[in-house]
Symmetry: C2
Subunit: 106 residues, 2 copies
């Protein structure tokens, strides 16, 4: 990597970001969460063709990335909600610009 050239430094961070956003369903899960906190089943209803296992994996990955957080409310029955962190909320212009471009051009 040529550190003297600022353009060449775009790569690793850009590619790290895109590798998160590029995983199947991730964009859609973030899209849903941009609407506010949701429960597991709320996401499942919006994307019925995604398996529980797949959704669990994606949510776990996004939690590990610090993009979403899992909140447990000690009610009966216990209520678990997923919501975006600030890092996740900041993805709004990314998701929206990709959506806008893809709807215009794809």
């Amino acid at each position: 990597m040529d550190q003297s050239n600022p353009k060449s430094q775009m790569c690793p961070k850009y590619e790290a970001a895109i590798s998160i956003l590029g995983k199947r369903w991730t964009g859609l899960i973030i899209r849903v969460l941009l609407g506010g906190p949701v429960r597991f089943k709320d996401v499942r209803e919006i994307v019925p063709q995604m398996s529980d296992k797949m959704l669990s994996e994606r949510l776990k990955e996004l939690e590990e990335e610090g993009i979403i957080e899992r909140k447990v409310y000690p009610e009966t029955p216990v209520r678990i909600e997923y919501q975006l962190t600030q890092k996740g909320t900041d993805l709004r212009p990314v998701i929206e610009s990709i959506e806008e471009w893809s709807h215009k051009w794809m």
Copy 2:
């Protein structure tokens, strides 16, 4: 796919877009081209670790996607430049929002 739910329709187009943007070097090549038409060697200089073969492949893919166009100027020696189409130029907010987010959070 649940066609009755507008959110679930985000998927195919978003994912088609992200599959283009997610390829290694593609974001950087578009970034460089956002600065104006360039010759093959200009891109090579900015990303010296990318092989000629890889760059040729990426440029060909982007041309096939209608994101860039290859212009041949019949000079001596012949001059070949790559430039963004309107579809490609419209990627500016996408690339910029990913860059901004990744520099803040990655």
